[in-house]
């Protein structure tokens, strides 16, 4: 596959307001392939927006480089870069109509009036806004403004479309439908999307590749499934999806390795890590079940007390307390696990998991 954009060893530092230096980008390298939907995911201040602005040209790197379509864009101003951006607040031109906004890039490129009108019409149709061309941005709802911003950015047929948290201002329902719409739009257009968000659910829903950033560093790059099932670091494990983290040291028992946590909890894990290794285990709610009366060696067991049972529609969540005081949640589909639904709050239960399912993060 062709590389559309590449970031090599990018470093960017800002003076901190209270003195000192903030490293927004700390040696970032990544590669966006043709046709990919890539998401930069991280908490606020992790450097994701700085990285996006370095690609669009609004921020210069201290060192490292950005290459678009194989060529370095160092010193190339934003208006000469073959990328377009959907801004967080949409940044629609208030004095121009919807078609004036969408046709802005074509007008600058001196595209003839007839072609411009045709392409504006097509772009508006793509985002389901046909018939809105004469309105001013102020006369549109947030969701409609979002679509205008999208149409304006794709009409230039950029090599790469940058999206800076474009859905954060929308309400939950609209956001979810826009996520799927963006995904199918990206598929239809075949343009690379580089999407910035702090919402892990959004990242998992839409992306081919997710880049998890924290403190200006890449924690992990991979497809959503990989990040969820095989998080590379504690940060990724904690940031993506629900689950309980257990940190401790691997010790050997009679049969299998055991992770002994600081609280003294002993959790058996699958074979692999050597004794004495520091490791973190992530157990997700769907990994757990009520332990059957008889079980074989493949199951690990945790003793717990049921504290709360919460109905969540499609699933039911059980919050349990472990011997060391940590809480752990168990989720069961439908009306709930039969064995679990017979348990009352305050009862002691035994939770079971397949020992090879929870992911073990080894720390060097």
């Amino acid at each position: 596959m062709d590389s559309i954009a590449e970031v090599r060893e990018a470093v960017k530092r800002f003076p901190a307001p209270e003195g000192g230096v903030i490293t927004a980008l700390d040696n970032i390298s990544l590669n966006i392939q043709q046709g990919q939907f890539m998401t930069l995911l991280g908490p606020s201040g992790c450097g994701k927006t700085t990285l996006l602005r370095a690609i669009s040209g609004f921020e210069d790197l201290d060192s490292g480089e950005v290459r678009i379509a194989g060529e370095s864009v160092a010193g190339v101003p934003p208006y000469r870069r073959p990328v377009n951006t959907v801004f967080q607040n949409y940044a629609l031109f208030p004095h121009l109509s919807v078609s004036g906004n969408v046709g802005y890039g074509l007008d600058l490129a001196r595209v003839s009036k007839t072609e411009r009108e045709q392409r504006v019409g097509e772009a508006l149709e793509r985002v389901n806004l046909s018939g809105f061309d004469r309105r001013k941005p102020a006369q549109l709802s947030g969701g409609q403004q979002q679509r205008v911003a999208l149409a304006r950015a794709i009409i230039n047929q950029p090599k790469l479309l940058l999206l800076d948290e474009p859905l954060s201002a929308l309400d939950r329902n609209l956001r979810q439908s826009m996520q799927l719409e963006l995904k199918s739009l990206q598929h239809d257009l075949g343009i690379c999307f580089l999407f910035v968000t702090h919402d892990q659910e959004e990242a998992l829903t839409m992306s081919d590749q997710v880049v998890v950033l924290d403190h200006g560093r890449i924690e992990q790059i991979g497809p959503p499934e990989e990040l969820y099932h095989q998080p590379a670091t504690r940060f990724v494990a904690g940031f993506i999806g629900d689950g309980t983290l257990f940190s401790g040291t691997i010790e050997n028992s009679a049969e299998d390795p055991i992770l002994v946590t600081e609280g003294g909890l002993r959790i058996s894990v699958a074979n692999g890590p050597s004794v004495g290794t520091n490791a973190t285990l992530i157990i997700r709610p769907e990994h757990l079940n009520i332990a059957p009366q008889e079980h074989d060696n493949s199951l690990g067991i945790l003793d717990a007390v049921l504290e709360q049972s919460v109905f969540q529609g499609a699933t039911r969540q059980y919050v349990c307390k472990l011997a060391n005081g940590a809480s752990i949640s168990v989720s069961a589909a439908g009306s709930g696990d039969e064995a679990l639904s017979s348990v009352n709050t305050g009862d002691s239960i035994r939770l079971a998991y397949r020992r090879d399912t929870p992911h073990l993060i080894l720390e060097s």
Binding site: Y79, P94, H95, G105, A109, A153
Partner: protein
Amino acid sequence: MKHPWLKRLLSLHGFLFLAFVYAPIIIVVVYSFNSHPVNMMVWKDFTFDWYLSIFGNPTKLTEQTLYVESTDQLLSAVKNSLTVALTTTTFATIVGTATALAIYRYHFKLKPFYQGLLYMPMVMPDIVLGIALLVFFINFGVKLGLMSIIIGHCTFLISYVFVVVSARLAGMDSTLEEASADLGANPWATFRRVTFPQILPGIVGGALLAFIISMDDLVITYFIAGVDSTTLPVFIYGMLRRGVKPEINAIATLMLLFSFAIAALGLYFRRRN
């Protein structure tokens, strides 16, 4: 507002306030149509005579009622005022807008200090500015005339335009300029297509303000006007010193009408944006 009488008291207060502000103006307008030639405050008949009189057509007037020095002098003062106001407004608007854009866009050493200096002429007493300008012009051998008035007005009107345009810039969404650049517009195209249309109401507002203040200024102009460069306010002041004449009411009413027209123009521009 529990008590209805408290509410009524508040409306009365509002009414009295408006009366306090507008009653003198309304009286001037009403009495500009009063035909009593000696005592302006005694209503006699409705007449347009004072208006005709200022334009040199004293139909029913006798020698003793014709107070205006001469229509030529009045018209020349109006012409001077318009010349000064139009030139000053043009210059102050261009320089003030450019300054506001520069201050908005660039960060440099002593920027707050520089900004402070720009606000200064607005709070400086007119009389100080007038004296300072007069001393300056005399020391540097500048002949007092229309040019000295124009230079003098520019010194403080640039500040007014700067303040109005700066406020508009501060309210502008700065990502608009980035969006424009992102879509392929070079800095000049971005200015022409995005920044300028966005701040245009501010520029127009600043220009109208500068025009009105320049037309209206007496104190500073009084110091730096030459013999042959009397502006309308200076002319009216000169008339008043030799007694209040009915024509003053007519002139004041016309000036009021003119100001309303300018304000309406400003409102029209604001509405359109």
